[in-house]
Symmetry: C2
Subunit: 114 residues, 2 copies
Amino acid sequence: MESGEHFTAEEIWDRARGGLPGLELSTVYRALETLREAGLVAESRLPAGPRVFEARPSSHPHLVCEVCGEISHPEGGAGRRLLEALDGASEGFEVRELHVTARGVCAGCAGREG
Amino acid sequence: MESGEHFTAEEIWDRARGGLPGLELSTVYRALETLREAGLVAESRLPAGPRVFEARPSSHPHLVCEVCGEISHPEGGAGRRLLEALDGASEGFEVRELHVTARGVCAGCAGREG
DNA sequence: TGGTTTCTGCTAATAATTCGCAACTACAGT
DNA sequence: ACTGTAGTTGCGAATTATTAGCAGAAACCA
């Protein structure tokens, strides 16, 4: 998970069973929950499909390409700027966790499709 | 739904059955899907629980209070500013739909809890 | 080494959503 | 009005994603 990629619980399960045959999916869910509580993994609910997990500590935006399904992260301090933009608008609301997901078309697919 | 409130499919079902006894939940889901395609309702996946639907045309941020569960919208052009903040950071990615959900504590609950 | 806690596999349950199909309705053309 | 076609609904069942319960195994600790 340190690659920065996103995985569903089932994908993690598939990979992990390579080295741990007999590993159960529920165990993966339990481990992910523990890691999440410890702040070692972040989870996101994308517009559709199962949750995805990644080894990043803080909430940050996700860009989901409608064409290829690739999930990417905007560069730089986008997360921080979004948080600021939201903070300014939501007076009184104390934001603890920010989930930002944009659906659209990534640069690669836009070029390929025209 | 024109109140601007958020409803789960089941809540809509409960209400609608008042006037339409025998209405099925699957019919509600089907209707919501049709309305969503037509751009008449927007749906959001909150950090937990079922999807919520509302009679708003465009994607806009949601603030979910961890204490009382209330869902609110930040005022003014927060949605637009968020989109701008994101656009600046995600070069090449064409954003078509933006989902923003913040978990935190609303002004009311913050005051009550201290 | 014995006792306690934690973790895991396994199975089953739950929650949310979708699917398949047959009956029903709306409706357009004749 | 009559008939064929398309769209909609009720109903039940299937799927998908996730969680819970429990008993045995493993890890830890005095």
